[in-house]
C-alpha cells in the first residue's frame, strides 16, 4: 500500500476507531493512576488566597451551580474548596441554582464534612439552603433579606432559627461567594449581582470549556481568581496539600488532549496529501 492510498484510507477512517483510541487512552491513564507534575496558575492561587486569608469563623457562601452532567469536572473542584474552607474553620452557607444539582451538595456534605470533619455541626458550622427558583432575583432578594429568599433550609428548618443564619441576615454579611458553575445561572450571574451590585467578592470554578469567558472579569478584578475545569481542581488540590481525584483525572485529560492533537495532525496530513492528488489529477 503506497503513501497516498494510505492517506486516502485515513481520510475515510471509520470514526469508531477514533472512539476506541480515545477510550483506551483515557482508561489506561485512569487505571494506571498516572500522576503528572502540576504547576499552580495565578488565577487558582488568587482563588485560594481569597479563602485562605479569611479569619476562622467568617461566613462564606458556596453555590453548587451544576448538575450531574458536569459532575466529573466540577465535583473535585468543589470538594477541594469545601475541604479548604472547613480546615480553615470558615462557616459555609450552601445553596444551588440548578434544581437537579442540589443532591450533589448532600453528597459533598457526606463525603467531605461528615467523613473528614465530624466535629462540624449542622446549623452552626454549615447550612444547606437548597434550591430556590428565580436565579438573579434570588440573589438580589438574598441581599435585601436572606430569610425572605430562603424561609426554610433544605431540611425544612426555619432559616432564622439556625445559629449560623442568625449571623447571616443578608448576602452582604458574607465575606465571599464561591460558585461552581457549569453555565447559566452560575458564576457570571454571581459576578453581575453579588459583586457588581453588592460588592461581595466572588470566586469559583467553571468547566474548562467556559473558562475563556471569564478572562475579562479576572483582569478587571470583578472575579477574584478562577479554577478552570479539572486542571483548576488539580492545582487547588496541590495548594491544599491533598492531591486527589482531579490530579488523577489530569493524566487522562493530558493524554486525551495529545490524542486529539495527534488526530488533528494526521487528519491534516491526510487532507493535504489527498487534496494534492486530486489537484494533480
Amino acid at each position: 500500500m503506497g503513501f497516498k492510498s494510505l492517506m486516502s484510507r485515513l481520510v475515510q477512517i471509520d470514526r469508531r476507531w477514533i472512539f476506541l483510541a480515545m477510550a483506551l487512552v483515557v482508561a489506561a491513564a485512569l487505571l494506571m493512576d498516572l500522576k503528572m507534575p502540576v504547576t499552580v496558575s495565578q488565577d487558582v492561587r488568587r482563588a485560594y488566597q481569597l479563602i485562605d486569608s479569611l479569619p476562622a469563623g467568617t461566613p462564606v457562601l458556596f453555590s453548587w451551580d451544576y448538575d450531574p452532567g458536569s459532575m466529573p469536572e466540577l465535583h473535585p473542584l468543589a470538594e477541594a474548596m469545601l475541604r479548604h474552607a472547613m480546615s480553615k474553620n470558615l462557616k459555609v452557607v450552601m445553596m444551588g441554582h440548578w434544581v437537579t444539582g442540589i443532591p450533589l451538595i448532600e453528597r459533598q456534605i457526606a463525603g467531605v464534612i461528615r467523613r473528614d470533619f465530624p466535629d462540624k455541626k449542622y446549623g452552626t458550622d454549615y447550612v444547606n439552603l437548597g434550591y430556590k427558583s428565580g436565579q438573579y432575583v434570588v440573589v438580589v432578594s438574598m441581599a435585601q433579606n436572606i430569610y425572605d429568599a430562603f424561609p426554610q433550609d433544605y431540611y425544612r428548618n426555619r432559616t432564622d432559627t439556625l445559629p449560623l443564619m442568625r449571623r447571616v441576615r443578608s448576602l452582604k454579611d458574607l465575606a465571599a461567594v464561591v460558585s461552581f458553575s457549569a453555565g447559566d445561572p452560575g458564576l457570571l450571574m454571581w459576578i453581575q449581582y453579588a459583586w457588581q451590585r453588592f460588592r461581595v467578592p466572588v470566586t469559583g470554578g467553571c468547566t474548562a470549556v467556559s473558562a475563556p469567558e471569564f478572562s475579562a472579569y479576572l483582569q478587571s478584578n470583578q472575579l477574584q481568581g478562577l479554577m478552570g475545569g479539572m486542571r483548576g481542581a488539580a492545582e487547588y488540590e496541590i495548594l491544599i496539600g491533598r492531591p486527589g481525584q482531579a490530579a488523577t483525572g489530569m493524566s487522562a485529560q493530558s493524554l486525551g488532549h495529545f490524542l486529539i492533537i495527534a488526530f488533528i495532525v494526521i487528519g491534516n496530513i491526510a487532507y493535504f496529501a489527498t487534496r494534492k492528488r486530486k489537484e494533480g489529477k
Partner: protein, 220 residues
C-alpha cells in the same frame, strides 16, 4: 384590553425596578423587595407550566404512535415516578428518590457529558483542517492552548532540545497571552454587544414596541 393591560403592567413593573435601582429610599427598596418575592413565586409556577407542556406534548406523541413514542413513554414514566417517590417519601439522603438520583440519574448524566470527548476527537480529526488562513490561525491557537493548558504539555516543552532549555516558560506565557489578549478582547466585544442588545430589548418591551411575548408567534 387583552394587549393593553399586559403592556401597562410591563411598563410599570420595568420602570419601578429601574427606579428602585437608583433610589435607595427604604419605602422604594421594601416594595421592590416585595415585587422580587412575587417574581420568585411566578418563576416557580413556570416550572408547573413546563411540566404541563411536557406531559401534553409527549402524551400526544404516545397517543398518535409517532416515531420514537416509546422514548416519550419512558420520559413520562420517569417524570411521574420520580414525582410520586419524591413527594411521597421525601428527597433527602436515605430515601428512594436519593437512591435513584445517585445510582441512575447522576451516572447517566455524567456518561452523556463524557461522550463529548469522543465526539470532539472525531470532529477534530474530520473537520479541523487548515483550509485557509483563518482556519490555520484557529487551528494553531487551539493546539497551543490544548498543549499549554495541560501539565504534560509544559513538562514536554521543557525537555525539547534547544528551545526547551532556552525558553522554558515560553509555552505557558504564549498560552496565557492568547487567553489574556485576543481571547479577552473578543469576549469583551461579545459581552458589550450582548449587554447593549439586552438593554435595547428591555426598553423596547417596556415601551411596547416589542410585543412578540404577548402572542404565540409573529413580531412587533
Amino acid at each position: 384590553m387583552k394587549k393593553t393591560l399586559p403592556l401597562i403592567i410591563t411598563f410599570l413593573a420595568g420602570f419601578y425596578m429601574i427606579l428602585a435601582f437608583f433610589v435607595p429610599h427604604h419605602a422604594v427598596a421594601a416594595s421592590a423587595q416585595e415585587m422580587q418575592s412575587w417574581e420568585i413565586i411566578i418563576v416557580a409556577f413556570t416550572l408547573v407550566l413546563g411540566i404541563g407542556n411536557l406531559i401534553q406534548v409527549h402524551a400526544a406523541k404516545i397517543r398518535q404512535r409517532q416515531a420514537g413514542w416509546p422514548y416519550s413513554l419512558v420520559l413520562l414514566a420517569c417524570l411521574v415516578g420520580m414525582m410520586i417517590i419524591g413527594l411521597g417519601w421525601g428527597i433527602n439522603e436515605g430515601t428512594a428518590y436519593y437512591w435513584l438520583y445517585d445510582n441512575v440519574m447522576a451516572p447517566l448524566s455524567a456518561a452523556m457529558f463524557s461522550l463529548l470527548a469522543f465526539f470532539i476527537a472525531s470532529a477534530a480529526y474530520r473537520a479541523f483542517r487548515a483550509r485557509n488562513k483563518e482556519a490555520t490561525l484557529l487551528l494553531v491557537a487551539a493546539v497551543i492552548i490544548m498543549v499549554g493548558r495541560i501539565p504534560l504539555g509544559n513538562h514536554l516543552w521543557q525537555h525539547l532540545p534547544w528551545v526547551g532549555s532556552r525558553f522554558p516558560g515560553a509555552l505557558e506565557s504564549l498560552t496565557q497571552w492568547i487567553m489574556d489578549i485576543p481571547n479577552a478582547a473578543g469576549q469583551r466585544g461579545i459581552k458589550i454587544g450582548a449587554a447593549l442588545g439586552a438593554v435595547s430589548m428591555a426598553l423596547r418591551m417596556m415601551l411596547g414596541i416589542e410585543r412578540s411575548y404577548l402572542t404565540t408567534g409573529g413580531g412587533s
